[in-house]
Symmetry: C2
């Protein structure tokens, strides 16, 4: 799947990932009203609104971007109806040829990790029946528990050609509180980067990159440059562009000389583009899909300046 | 809720938490057959089997233990049907007066954490309608992202009297890979313990303990003693007893002099007791609830020797 992601980045000449983190407060009212008319102002109504919103976004960007990244929390909060919308979003995006990065950031001991792994990127068995449940292509994981919490995913990555992005250095303001602590002169995030690089050797793709990638926040340009050296064959999933304040220049260091090695996520900057100063004069709320498309093209061009 | 947990520990004279991590391979066949007859060998059939298994366990232990800890991964792997079984398990246990610790180990940036927080321990709104979705009393969290990834939960803890257990030192074999790294002579887990202690001051209960607790593995006796000093007013959720190899003596240091300060989890050791050498001569598979009850009593008595 890392190879498929790379080929898609090359074909579409775009390293942009669209983060599908919809919130009701920026789902246009015509979508919400239709969902509420059908299911009421309920968890099901909210979930239906998110799904329909996502479908329109996907319709408008699928030919431009290699991947989408649904954030499971946005759906999980609405219970089983929300989780169904998460799964339906994945299914719809897959049918449109997109690579799916499930942003789930799970972490647990080995026996529990195996259950997450089988459900999200492997197969779940019920006696002699076998099910592919969530169908993400990649998922994100948290490394705090160490290798035996990651290993249960590596087998499924190799068996089913799936992939991981493991948190190394996150984009949020307090990320340094633990990640920047110094161990013998090196930061924790660098130590974790070294581990991810090492774990990645167990799951190499055919195009020179590992199936085990890293999350490296765009809000830390110096650190991402440093981490690029620590993890030369690791693909970076880079959050923080746009709404979180990072510019294309900030993330130039995430890319290798081949122009590969990183995909950059933007969520609100794309899916809520129609609410931004820049686009709201041109696009009505009903045209949020077209605004998202325009924002994707702008981001693609911006990124292509630096990679 | 931390106060309710403490009162229940005192009333039942028991610091045992029953981990509800059911797996199909130890759900007795009479339960599975009934579930499959109703829903087929499907995700729904598997989920129904887990739910019925849990209900029998809860029926047999609810008067003895203060809390249960469902591990969401065991349900999430079966998709929406599994998540429904997780929620139905919580509902059933709450009706039996048990405190619910949702073992979800989530971690994300603030805006995303808010969605998890509202869904799991707060309220989710759909326009003017308000929903309590998962209804856990406590949830577990991973601290790798720092304070702004935890803060969105603290408000809901105080507003709705809920609680957290934040991973400090986990029970798994590779937990030291990151957690034991030395920062200026102190381990990462100690640094995280200091942070949790500090965060906890924002959410004190009335009985001297904070609503913000810590996960401290029983498999590390020296470290848990050290952490007890670092976090004097923090309740510990202690995994690793029994199946993971720790004994009561190993976790004596988790308790304060008041005999409080820790609850100790056992999952397979209790819910799959009927499969263990010790119990399988006395109990048939159909009597797995009675075996679990006997295992709870044995664990209670074992823990009460050291606390």
């Amino acid at each position: 799947m890392i190879d498929q992601l790379i080929r898609s980045i090359q074909e579409k000449n775009n390293a942009t990932v669209v983060g599908l983190d919809p919130r009701l407060n920026f789902v246009p009212s015509h979508i919400k009203e239709q969902a509420y008319a059908q299911y009421g102002k309920t968890l099901k109504g909210a979930s239906e609104a998110l799904l329909q919103f996502n479908k329109t976004i996907i319709d408008h960007v699928h030919d431009l971007v290699p991947a989408v990244k649904p954030q499971v929390a946005m759906y999980e909060q609405y219970g089983v109806e929300g989780l169904q919308a998460y799964m339906d979003t994945i299914q719809y995006a897959k049918e449109k040829g997109l690579v799916i990065i499930g942003d789930i950031k799970r972490s647990d001991i080995a026996s529990t990790a195996m259950a997450y792994s089988d459900g999200h990127i492997g197969r779940v068995t019920v006696e002699d029946e076998c099910f592919e449940v969530y169908k993400e292509d990649f998922i994100t994981l948290n490394p705090y528990l160490g290798y035996d919490s990651i290993e249960p995913y590596i087998g499924n990555c190799n068996t089913y050609d799936k992939g991981l992005f493991i948190l190394v250095k996150t984009s949020n303001p307090n990320s340094g509180e633990i990640q920047d602590l110094l161990v013998e002169g090196d930061t924790i995030y660098k130590k974790v980067g070294q581990l991810v690089n090492q774990w990645g050797t167990e799951a190499m793709g055919e195009l020179g990159y590992s199936r085990i990638g890293a999350v490296v926040g765009a809000t830390h340009p110096k650190q991402s440059k440093e981490l690029r050296k620590v993890m030369p064959k690791t693909f970076f999933l880079v959050p923080g562009y746009g709404a979180q304040g990072a510019t294309a220049e900030d993330l130039a260091g995430c890319f290798n000389k081949d122009g590969l090695g990183a995909i950059v996520n933007s969520s609100r900057g794309i899916i809520a583009a129609y609410t931004k100063e820049q686009y709201k004069k041109t696009f009505k709320a009903e045209e949020f899909g077209s605004a998202a498309r325009k924002a994707v093209i702008a981001m693609r061009n911006d990124l292509n300046r630096v990679r």
